[in-house]
């Protein structure tokens, strides 16, 4: 048990290193999901507007989900080399998929009657999208972002294979030397971070999604 808690001692003894890796991890996660959202949302709107695109795009993202994250990271290498930026690009690609799928489905399944009503009231296309469809889809979009964020916290550990930094560094160093405190100094904060991201997004969703759209439990 004392062994299991020795990781706290390691963090205390290496505050600068830990802070740097922790911040790198946050940055990798946050930026990849933010950029992923910025790319996925327009794509989802496009797919919901152009019938012919919806099917192939859904298919691509479905199949894309089955490609291992590690492979995406490895495939970025030949183009961008090593370091923080390539890791960020790979994580962004990974984040796009769940956000796109959820956003597309949310918009597609937005209540047709409500949209008709908006059209009847003379709302323009843009007004309909931003004032009706996206708010209606917001619970599902939020779920996608929540998923992407939790996933990104985990996938960011793999950045340590290609010089991207983050808490994965400590996990790999701990593994290389079979040094449990070092390993746990990486693994436990990552796990806590993933749970925190999950809770945070859950809370934000309750806070931001209009009350009438909150999904009631079955």
């Amino acid at each position: 048990m004392t062994d299991a808690l020795a990781f706290i001692g390691y963090i205390r003894d290496h505050p600068d290193q830990f802070r740097q890796l922790f911040l790198q991890h946050l940055e990798l996660t946050g930026v990849s999901v933010a950029v992923g959202l910025a790319i996925a949302l327009p794509l989802a709107v496009l797919a919901s507007r152009v019938e012919a695109l919806a099917k192939p795009m859904g298919w691509i993202s479905g199949v894309g989900q089955t490609i291992p994250s590690l492979a995406i990271l490895a495939l970025v290498l030949p183009w961008l080399g090593i370091g923080f930026v390539p890791a960020l690009v790979a994580l962004t690609v990974r984040a796009i998929l769940p956000i796109f799928l959820n956003a597309y489905i949310g918009i597609r399944d937005a209540d047709a009657a409500v949209i008709d009503a908006a059209r009847g009231m003379g709302a323009s296309d843009a007004q309909r999208l931003f004032l009706v469809e996206i708010p209606l889809a917001s619970p599902v979009i939020f779920a996608g972002v929540q998923t992407a964020l939790v996933q990104s916290v985990g996938t960011a550990t793999l950045a340590a294979f290609i010089g991207g930094g983050g808490l994965g560094d400590l996990i790999l160093q701990g593994l290389a030397l079979v040094d449990l405190p070092v390993l746990l100094a990486g693994a436990i904060p990552v796990a806590l971070l993933a749970m925190a991201a999950d809770l945070l997004m859950g809370g934000l969703r309750r806070f931001l999604v209009p009350a009438g759209l909150q999904v009631r439990s079955a």
């Binding site: 490609i67 590690l70 492979a71 916290v153 990486g186 693994a187 796990a191």
Partner: protein, 214 residues
């Protein structure tokens, strides 16, 4: 890339290792998860603590979980199998509960009316009718497990992840692509097979129950 004839043995070995890791993990998760799910349906107060624990485990990133398990399991396929069991438990417990809950109460009442004991109702009515939902859980566990297992190559588990790591190590994109395609195809194949099973079971389910009760 080398020719197909060169060494199919090794290639097949990697695929089999991959299938084995995921297969064993999901089987064990089923053996543990289904009884747990049944227990929860009977003792509802257990749902929150059990499902929450499983959900928390579910958020732990795979590399972190493998790493934490190594002091207990050593290197090799063991940490991978244990990690995948822990991940699979959530979907399987949850879908077992959902599967039993989805059974029409009238059907259960009818069974009770026929004088079936609780155990008979479970085995003859609730589980068979809830099966498609449980299989849906298995499908999710298998498909996601196939992806996660690639990372397990780093802790000595073998499997198709070896090709990806080799590709990184020798700066050989061909190998990475081969590993990625093979993993992805394996996942899609499993997805297809289990989805089909789900559909067949669903069709069975819609048939009159007399057949099952005779």
């Amino acid at each position: 890339m080398r020719t197909l004839a060169h060494d199919p043995g090794y290639a097949l070995l990697l695929t089999l290792q991959h299938v084995e890791i995921v297969g064993i993990a999901v089987l064990v998760a089923l053996l543990v998860g289904i009884p747990t799910g049944i227990g929860i349906v009977r003792l509802r107060w257990l749902e929150a603590p059990v499902v929450n624990t499983a959900s928390v485990l579910y958020t732990v990133p795979s590399l972190a979980l493998f790493a934490v398990l190594i002091p207990f399991t050593g290197l090799g396929p063991e940490p991978a199998v244990v990690a995948l069991i822990l991940y699979s438990l959530l979907v399987i417990i949850r879908n077992t509960i959902a599967g039993i809950d989805s059974v029409d109460p009238a059907m259960v009442d009818a069974a009770r009316g026929m004088g079936m004991t609780a155990a008979q109702r479970l085995v003859l009515v609730e589980l068979p009718l809830g099966l498609p939902v449980i299989v849906a859980g298995v499908r999710l566990a298998v498909v996601s497990g196939i992806g996660i297992a690639t990372i397990a190559a780093y802790v000595g588990a073998g499997g198709l992840g070896i090709l990806i790591f080799d590709g990184i190590r020798t700066l050989n994109p061909d190998r990475v692509v081969a590993g990625a395609l093979a993993t992805s195809a394996l996942a899609l194949l499993a997805d297809w097979g289990l989805l089909r099973l789900e559909k067949v079971l669903n069709r069975e389910r819609r048939r009159p129950v007399e057949a099952g009760m005779a």
